[in-house]
Protein backbone atom coordinates (compact mmCIF):
# COMPACT_ATOMS: atom_id res chain seq x y z
CA UNK A 1 0.00 0.00 0.00
CA UNK A 2 0.99 3.59 -0.66
CA UNK A 3 0.86 6.45 1.83
CA UNK A 4 1.28 10.13 1.01
CA UNK A 5 3.45 12.04 3.43
CA UNK A 6 2.90 15.81 3.59
CA UNK A 7 5.86 17.36 5.36
CA UNK A 8 5.87 20.79 6.97
CA UNK A 9 3.24 22.42 4.74
CA UNK A 10 2.57 24.83 7.55
CA UNK A 11 1.72 28.52 7.59
CA UNK A 12 5.19 29.50 8.76
CA UNK A 13 6.88 27.68 5.88
CA UNK A 14 4.38 28.36 3.06
CA UNK A 15 2.01 31.25 3.70
CA UNK A 16 2.87 34.78 2.62
CA UNK A 17 4.63 36.43 5.56
CA UNK A 18 5.28 33.12 7.33
CA UNK A 19 8.41 33.09 9.47
CA UNK A 20 10.43 31.12 6.90
CA UNK A 21 8.19 31.73 3.87
CA UNK A 22 9.92 30.51 0.71
CA UNK A 23 7.89 32.85 -1.45
CA UNK A 24 6.00 31.90 -4.59
CA UNK A 25 8.08 28.80 -5.15
CA UNK A 26 6.68 27.38 -1.90
CA UNK A 27 3.11 28.18 -2.81
CA UNK A 28 3.58 26.76 -6.32
CA UNK A 29 3.64 23.18 -5.03
CA UNK A 30 0.33 23.52 -3.15
CA UNK A 31 -1.99 22.68 -6.08
CA UNK A 32 0.21 19.69 -6.99
CA UNK A 33 -0.09 18.28 -3.49
CA UNK A 34 -3.81 19.05 -3.49
CA UNK A 35 -4.34 17.00 -6.65
CA UNK A 36 -2.24 14.21 -5.22
CA UNK A 37 -4.24 14.18 -1.99
CA UNK A 38 -7.52 14.11 -3.93
CA UNK A 39 -6.35 11.11 -5.97
CA UNK A 40 -5.05 9.40 -2.84
CA UNK A 41 -8.30 9.99 -0.97
CA UNK A 42 -10.29 8.49 -3.84
CA UNK A 43 -8.11 5.38 -3.73
CA UNK A 44 -8.23 5.17 0.08
CA UNK A 45 -4.51 5.79 0.26
CA UNK A 46 -3.62 7.10 3.72
CA UNK A 47 -2.45 10.71 4.06
CA UNK A 48 0.04 11.38 6.82
CA UNK A 49 1.00 14.89 7.84
CA UNK A 50 4.37 15.54 9.40
CA UNK A 51 3.95 18.86 11.18
CA UNK A 52 6.99 20.46 12.69
CA UNK A 53 6.43 21.22 16.35
CA UNK A 54 9.14 23.47 17.76
CA UNK A 55 9.41 23.55 21.53
CA UNK A 56 11.34 26.75 22.34
CA UNK A 57 13.37 25.21 25.18
CA UNK A 58 14.62 22.33 22.96
CA UNK A 59 18.37 22.83 22.37
CA UNK A 60 17.94 21.73 18.74
CA UNK A 61 15.21 24.32 18.17
CA UNK A 62 17.45 26.99 19.68
CA UNK A 63 19.95 26.29 16.89
CA UNK A 64 17.42 27.15 14.16
CA UNK A 65 18.36 30.59 12.80
CA UNK A 66 14.71 31.73 12.68
CA UNK A 67 12.04 30.48 15.10
CA UNK A 68 9.18 28.86 13.18
CA UNK A 69 6.33 26.40 13.66
CA UNK A 70 6.45 27.03 17.39
CA UNK A 71 3.97 25.00 19.40
CA UNK A 72 0.79 26.92 20.19
CA UNK A 73 1.22 29.52 17.43
CA UNK A 74 -0.88 29.98 14.29
CA UNK A 75 2.25 29.62 12.18
CA UNK A 76 2.38 25.94 13.10
CA UNK A 77 -0.99 25.14 11.52
CA UNK A 78 -1.20 23.33 8.20
CA UNK A 79 -2.12 25.78 5.44
CA UNK A 80 -5.85 26.08 4.72
CA UNK A 81 -5.61 24.56 1.23
CA UNK A 82 -4.19 21.31 2.59
CA UNK A 83 -6.10 21.19 5.85
CA UNK A 84 -6.22 17.60 7.15
CA UNK A 85 -9.51 15.73 6.92
CA UNK A 86 -11.08 13.13 9.18
CA UNK A 87 -9.11 9.89 8.90
CA UNK A 88 -5.80 11.53 8.04
CA UNK A 89 -2.88 10.88 10.34
CA UNK A 90 -1.14 13.76 12.08
CA UNK A 91 2.40 13.33 13.32
CA UNK A 92 4.12 16.11 15.23
CA UNK A 93 7.77 16.15 14.19
CA UNK A 94 10.61 17.52 16.29
CA UNK A 95 13.60 17.36 13.99
CA UNK A 96 14.36 17.53 10.29
CA UNK A 97 13.94 13.77 9.85
CA UNK A 98 10.25 13.03 10.47
CA UNK A 99 11.08 9.61 11.92
CA UNK A 100 13.16 10.94 14.80
CA UNK A 101 11.32 10.80 18.15
CA UNK A 102 7.97 10.28 16.39
CA UNK A 103 5.38 7.56 15.81
CA UNK A 104 5.78 7.71 12.03
CA UNK A 105 7.42 4.30 11.65
CA UNK A 106 4.76 2.67 13.83
CA UNK A 107 1.93 4.26 11.85
CA UNK A 108 3.41 3.18 8.50
CA UNK A 109 3.83 -0.41 9.69
CA UNK A 110 0.46 -0.60 11.47
CA UNK A 111 -1.35 0.72 8.39
CA UNK A 112 0.56 -1.72 6.20
CA UNK A 113 2.37 0.80 4.03
CA UNK A 114 5.04 -0.50 1.64
CA UNK A 115 5.66 2.67 -0.37
CA UNK A 116 5.96 6.17 1.05
CA UNK A 117 5.24 9.10 -1.29
CA UNK A 118 7.05 12.20 -0.09
CA UNK A 119 5.84 15.78 -0.54
CA UNK A 120 6.40 19.06 1.29
CA UNK A 121 9.28 21.17 2.52
CA UNK A 122 12.12 21.33 2.24
CA UNK A 123 13.45 19.08 -0.48
CA UNK A 124 17.01 19.12 0.88
CA UNK A 125 15.94 19.16 4.54
CA UNK A 126 12.95 17.17 5.78
CA UNK A 127 12.13 15.54 2.47
CA UNK A 128 15.68 14.30 1.94
CA UNK A 129 16.28 13.03 5.47
CA UNK A 130 12.80 11.51 5.79
CA UNK A 131 13.18 9.82 2.40
CA UNK A 132 16.54 8.40 3.50
CA UNK A 133 15.01 7.39 6.83
CA UNK A 134 12.20 5.57 5.02
CA UNK A 135 14.63 3.89 2.61
CA UNK A 136 16.82 2.69 5.46
CA UNK A 137 13.73 1.32 7.22
CA UNK A 138 13.10 -0.77 4.08
CA UNK A 139 10.15 1.16 2.69
CA UNK A 140 9.94 1.88 -1.03
CA UNK A 141 10.17 5.62 -1.49
CA UNK A 142 8.74 7.93 -4.15
CA UNK A 143 9.77 11.59 -4.03
CA UNK A 144 7.44 13.97 -5.85
CA UNK A 145 9.67 16.34 -7.81
CA UNK A 146 7.01 19.07 -8.16
CA UNK A 147 5.49 18.34 -4.74
CA UNK A 148 8.64 19.21 -2.79
CA UNK A 149 10.33 22.58 -2.64
CA UNK A 150 13.40 24.26 -1.22
CA UNK A 151 14.95 27.71 -1.30
CA UNK A 152 16.42 27.63 -4.83
CA UNK A 153 16.55 25.50 -7.97
CA UNK A 154 20.16 24.49 -7.47
CA UNK A 155 19.43 22.99 -4.06
CA UNK A 156 16.27 21.36 -5.43
CA UNK A 157 18.20 19.66 -8.23
CA UNK A 158 21.09 18.64 -5.95
CA UNK A 159 18.69 17.05 -3.44
CA UNK A 160 16.81 15.10 -6.12
CA UNK A 161 20.10 13.92 -7.58
CA UNK A 162 21.24 12.77 -4.15
CA UNK A 163 18.01 10.82 -3.66
CA UNK A 164 17.98 9.19 -7.09
CA UNK A 165 19.89 5.98 -6.19
CA UNK A 166 17.62 5.32 -3.22
CA UNK A 167 14.14 6.42 -4.36
CA UNK A 168 11.94 6.89 -7.41
CA UNK A 169 11.72 10.55 -8.44
CA UNK A 170 8.38 11.20 -10.17
CA UNK A 171 6.26 14.27 -10.84
CA UNK A 172 2.77 14.63 -9.38
CA UNK A 173 1.01 13.51 -12.58
CA UNK A 174 3.10 10.36 -12.70
CA UNK A 175 2.36 9.60 -9.05
CA UNK A 176 -1.37 10.17 -9.57
CA UNK A 177 -1.29 7.65 -12.44
CA UNK A 178 0.53 5.24 -10.17
CA UNK A 179 -2.08 5.65 -7.44
CA UNK A 180 -4.87 5.12 -9.94
CA UNK A 181 -3.20 1.93 -11.08
CA UNK A 182 -2.88 3.24 -14.64
CA UNK A 183 0.79 2.26 -14.88
Amino acid sequence: MYAVLVLEMQKDTISKGGAVDMGERGRAIVPNIQRLIDAATQRKVPIIYGNLCCIPSDPLVKKFPIAHCVVGTAGREVIEELKPKAGDYLVDTYAIDAFLHTSLEHILRAVGVATVVITGTSTDGSCLLTAMGAFQRSFNVVVVSDGCVTYNDERQQAALKYLKPFTKILNSDEVIKLLKGDV
Binding site: A95, I96, L100, D124, G133, Q136, S138, Y162
Partner: protein, 181 residues
Amino acid sequence: MHAVLVLEMQQDFILEGSVLDLGETGRAMIPRIEKLLDVARERKAPVIYGNIYFVAQDPLFTMLPLDYCIAGTAGAEVVDELRPSDGDHIVTIYRMNAFLYSNLEYLLTVLGVATVIITGQSTNTGCLLTAMEAFQRGFKVIVASDGCATYKEEKHRAALEYLRPYARILTIDEIIDLLKG
Protein backbone atom coordinates in the same frame (compact mmCIF):
# COMPACT_ATOMS: atom_id res chain seq x y z
CA MET B 1 33.60 15.30 26.00
CA HIS B 2 34.65 14.50 22.44
CA ALA B 3 34.36 11.06 20.85
CA VAL B 4 35.85 9.98 17.54
CA LEU B 5 33.60 7.91 15.31
CA VAL B 6 35.33 5.73 12.71
CA LEU B 7 32.74 4.66 10.17
CA GLU B 8 33.14 1.59 7.97
CA MET B 9 36.92 1.67 7.64
CA GLN B 10 36.72 -2.00 6.80
CA GLN B 11 38.96 -3.84 4.38
CA ASP B 12 36.25 -4.44 1.78
CA PHE B 13 35.96 -0.69 1.23
CA ILE B 14 39.56 0.36 1.68
CA LEU B 15 42.08 -2.22 0.54
CA GLU B 16 43.36 -2.10 -3.02
CA GLY B 17 41.33 -4.50 -5.13
CA SER B 18 38.67 -5.06 -2.46
CA VAL B 19 35.05 -5.47 -3.58
CA LEU B 20 34.04 -1.86 -2.90
CA ASP B 21 37.51 -0.29 -3.06
CA LEU B 22 37.21 3.51 -2.71
CA GLY B 23 40.57 3.90 -4.42
CA GLU B 24 43.51 6.02 -3.35
CA THR B 25 41.23 8.55 -1.67
CA GLY B 26 40.15 5.80 0.74
CA ARG B 27 43.69 4.75 1.57
CA ALA B 28 44.87 8.36 1.90
CA MET B 29 42.64 8.78 4.97
CA ILE B 30 44.33 5.99 6.90
CA PRO B 31 47.45 7.76 8.26
CA ARG B 32 45.44 10.88 9.11
CA ILE B 33 42.77 8.96 11.03
CA GLU B 34 45.54 6.94 12.69
CA LYS B 35 47.14 10.15 13.94
CA LEU B 36 43.80 11.39 15.27
CA LEU B 37 43.08 8.12 17.09
CA ASP B 38 46.49 8.24 18.79
CA VAL B 39 45.76 11.70 20.15
CA ALA B 40 42.19 10.78 21.13
CA ARG B 41 43.33 7.72 23.11
CA GLU B 42 46.07 9.76 24.76
CA ARG B 43 43.49 12.38 25.78
CA LYS B 44 41.01 9.67 26.90
CA ALA B 45 38.49 10.69 24.28
CA PRO B 46 36.43 7.60 23.42
CA VAL B 47 37.03 5.96 20.03
CA ILE B 48 33.95 4.31 18.57
CA TYR B 49 33.98 2.14 15.46
CA GLY B 50 30.85 1.77 13.35
CA ASN B 51 31.29 -1.49 11.45
CA ILE B 52 28.78 -2.88 9.00
CA TYR B 53 28.33 -6.63 8.51
CA PHE B 54 26.51 -8.17 5.59
CA VAL B 55 23.06 -9.62 6.30
CA ALA B 56 22.04 -11.85 3.39
CA GLN B 57 18.33 -11.88 4.33
CA ASP B 58 18.08 -8.07 4.37
CA PRO B 59 16.99 -6.70 0.95
CA LEU B 60 18.89 -3.47 1.59
CA PHE B 61 22.18 -5.37 1.59
CA THR B 62 21.45 -7.18 -1.64
CA MET B 63 20.78 -4.00 -3.64
CA LEU B 64 24.42 -4.10 -4.69
CA PRO B 65 25.19 -7.08 -6.89
CA LEU B 66 27.98 -8.28 -4.62
CA ASP B 67 28.58 -9.46 -1.07
CA TYR B 68 30.79 -7.44 1.25
CA CYS B 69 31.83 -7.21 4.90
CA ILE B 70 30.77 -10.77 5.64
CA ALA B 71 31.31 -11.42 9.34
CA GLY B 72 34.26 -13.71 9.93
CA THR B 73 36.02 -12.79 6.70
CA ALA B 74 39.05 -10.51 6.48
CA GLY B 75 37.02 -8.09 4.35
CA ALA B 76 34.79 -7.27 7.29
CA GLU B 77 37.72 -6.35 9.53
CA VAL B 78 38.87 -2.81 10.18
CA VAL B 79 42.05 -2.08 8.19
CA ASP B 80 45.19 -3.12 10.09
CA GLU B 81 46.51 0.40 10.67
CA LEU B 82 43.27 1.43 12.41
CA ARG B 83 42.70 -1.80 14.31
CA PRO B 84 40.75 -1.11 17.54
CA SER B 85 42.75 -0.86 20.78
CA ASP B 86 41.76 -1.97 24.25
CA GLY B 87 39.06 0.30 25.58
CA ASP B 88 37.72 1.31 22.16
CA HIS B 89 34.06 0.66 21.45
CA ILE B 90 32.71 -1.26 18.50
CA VAL B 91 29.16 -0.75 17.29
CA THR B 92 27.62 -3.03 14.71
CA ILE B 93 25.73 -0.91 12.25
CA TYR B 94 23.18 -1.99 9.66
CA ARG B 95 22.41 1.20 7.82
CA MET B 96 24.17 4.27 6.40
CA ASN B 97 22.85 6.22 9.37
CA ALA B 98 24.90 4.58 12.13
CA PHE B 99 22.26 5.40 14.77
CA LEU B 100 19.51 3.39 13.12
CA TYR B 101 18.92 0.00 14.80
CA SER B 102 22.23 0.34 16.69
CA ASN B 103 23.36 1.10 20.23
CA LEU B 104 25.33 4.18 19.19
CA GLU B 105 23.14 6.72 20.98
CA TYR B 106 23.23 4.61 24.16
CA LEU B 107 27.03 4.54 24.07
CA LEU B 108 27.43 8.25 23.40
CA THR B 109 25.05 9.05 26.25
CA VAL B 110 26.59 6.79 28.88
CA LEU B 111 30.09 7.92 27.92
CA GLY B 112 29.01 11.53 28.43
CA VAL B 113 29.85 12.57 24.89
CA ALA B 114 28.81 16.08 23.85
CA THR B 115 30.71 16.33 20.56
CA VAL B 116 30.93 13.64 17.93
CA ILE B 117 33.89 13.75 15.53
CA ILE B 118 33.07 11.93 12.32
CA THR B 119 35.64 10.09 10.20
CA GLY B 120 35.43 7.26 7.68
CA GLN B 121 33.33 6.60 4.66
CA SER B 122 31.56 7.51 2.69
CA THR B 123 31.30 11.25 3.08
CA ASN B 124 27.96 11.57 1.26
CA THR B 125 26.21 8.54 2.79
CA GLY B 126 27.37 7.09 6.13
CA CYS B 127 29.16 10.24 7.28
CA LEU B 128 26.46 12.66 6.11
CA LEU B 129 23.49 10.74 7.47
CA THR B 130 25.23 9.92 10.76
CA ALA B 131 26.32 13.55 11.18
CA MET B 132 22.76 14.79 10.54
CA GLU B 133 21.31 12.28 12.98
CA ALA B 134 23.86 13.24 15.65
CA PHE B 135 22.99 16.92 15.10
CA GLN B 136 19.26 16.21 15.38
CA ARG B 137 19.82 14.17 18.55
CA GLY B 138 21.41 17.23 20.15
CA PHE B 139 25.10 16.39 19.80
CA LYS B 140 27.65 18.87 18.54
CA VAL B 141 29.18 17.52 15.37
CA ILE B 142 32.61 17.87 13.80
CA VAL B 143 33.26 16.31 10.40
CA ALA B 144 36.88 15.65 9.45
CA SER B 145 37.18 17.00 5.91
CA ASP B 146 40.35 14.99 5.20
CA GLY B 147 39.30 12.08 7.40
CA CYS B 148 36.25 11.20 5.30
CA ALA B 149 36.15 10.07 1.69
CA THR B 150 33.80 8.98 -1.03
CA TYR B 151 34.04 7.68 -4.58
CA LYS B 152 34.08 11.05 -6.30
CA GLU B 153 35.76 14.27 -5.21
CA GLU B 154 32.71 16.28 -6.36
CA LYS B 155 30.41 14.25 -4.11
CA HIS B 156 32.81 14.64 -1.19
CA ARG B 157 32.78 18.43 -1.54
CA ALA B 158 29.00 18.62 -2.03
CA ALA B 159 28.43 16.56 1.11
CA LEU B 160 30.68 18.83 3.19
CA GLU B 161 28.80 21.87 1.85
CA TYR B 162 25.50 20.23 2.78
CA LEU B 163 26.76 19.60 6.31
CA ARG B 164 28.22 23.06 6.89
CA PRO B 165 25.10 24.61 8.55
CA TYR B 166 24.87 21.69 11.00
CA ALA B 167 28.46 20.66 11.72
CA ARG B 168 31.93 22.14 12.02
CA ILE B 169 34.04 21.04 9.09
CA LEU B 170 37.67 20.79 10.23
CA THR B 171 40.84 19.07 9.04
CA ILE B 172 42.40 16.30 11.09
CA ASP B 173 45.21 18.66 12.17
CA GLU B 174 42.67 21.23 13.38
CA ILE B 175 40.79 18.54 15.29
CA ILE B 176 44.03 17.33 16.90
CA ASP B 177 44.75 20.90 18.06
CA LEU B 178 41.24 21.03 19.50
CA LEU B 179 41.67 17.76 21.40
CA LYS B 180 45.05 18.89 22.73
CA GLY B 181 43.62 22.34 23.58
